[in-house]
């Protein structure tokens, strides 16, 4: 498959516009099942508080999967991704109730490499805190 964006058409500094991703408790339970990561801090308030957390927090891997959608949706082809790394800098606290936690993700093309590869910097915030640091995705384009 070929991504829908060509290497020659990408410019350093190109912005991938902000998208908002709501996360509710049910989303964490669904992710626990799909990923088989049943750490209770992701679904049990008591366990989260006993572990010293402010409340139930999203799986870091769910935040990581959510953030890279800016890149894979931009390209259409998730197979274009060759490298992806993040640091989890603050927890995404997901409250009990109707109001979701909202993760806001933005991207910027940081640099163009040889071999038709492009590096995209991602930022992800929740309630004002940076929840990901050094989040970078490298893609190979046609």
């Amino acid at each position: 498959m070929t991504a829908t964006i060509a290497y020659d058409d990408v410019e350093v500094g190109t912005e991938l516009p902000e998208r908002l991703f709501p996360l509710r408790r049910v989303d964490l339970v669904r992710y626990a099942g799909a990923s088989t990561d049943f750490n209770p801090i992701h679904w049990n308030e008591r366990a989260a508080v006993e572990a010293g957390l402010p409340g139930v927090i999203a799986h870091g891997m769910l935040t990581m999967a959510t953030a890279v959608r800016l890149v894979t949706d931009w390209l259409g082809d998730p197979g274009a991704l060759v490298e992806y790394g993040v640091k989890f800098s603050a927890p995404v606290v997901v409250p009990d109730g109707d109001e979701p936690a909202v993760v806001s993700v933005r991207g910027t093309v940081q640099k163009k490499l040889e071999d038709n590869q492009v590096v995209v910097n991602l930022t992800a915030r929740c309630q004002g805190a940076k929840v990901l640091m050094a989040a970078r995705a490298t893609v190979r384009l046609p």
Binding site: Y31, S35, D37, A51, P91
Partner: protein
């Protein structure tokens, strides 16, 4: 209680190959709220040049032996999983995973270090198919909160 340093350098290999299944890809994609047709529609994936459904990039995490590639249920390691939060994660992919791939995953606990009252575990992953094709590598950093105990 501090973690058992004897585990540093040990590798953990999938006891049986991990088979990447269509329904698990769809279930995982739904769980991350991603409706990309290459994750759901076999015909769309084939039209795009793939042999079968493509797995989302972070799907690799479910192919790890144990939880996050560590024997978290082995009392000898001494890890209280409810104290664990994720510090860093990285994947490098030579090609995307597709349904039908059979993976042998090797995770290696490369380091346990103390940072304040926490312990930081670094695990590396290597994903190969059963026919010997290397697909991806990864690195995971976990933080075991408070397990180092009070500082001397």
């Amino acid at each position: 209680m501090p973690l058992n340093q004897d585990f540093v350098g040990r590798s953990f290999v999938s006891p049986v190959p991990y088979q990447v299944g269509r329904e698990h890809i769809r279930q995982f994609a739904r769980a991350i709220g991603d409706d990309n047709p290459l994750y759901h529609d076999v015909e769309a994936a084939k039209a795009a040049g793939y042999p079968d459904l493509v797995a989302p990039p972070t799907f690799l995490i479910v192919a790890n032996p144990g939880t996050l590639g560590l024997p978290t249920d082995d009392p000898a390691l001494g890890l209280d999983y409810s104290l664990v939060v994720h510090g860093e994660q990285r994947f490098s992919l030579l090609r995307p995973l597709v349904a039908g791939d059979e993976l042998v995953t090797t995770s290696t606990l490369t380091n346990i270090r103390t940072v304040g009252t926490n312990e930081v575990l670094v695990t590396t992953y290597r994903y190969d198919t059963t026919s010997g094709e290397e697909i991806a590598v990864g690195t995971c950093t976990l933080v075991s909160r408070g397990s180092a105990g009070p500082r001397e």
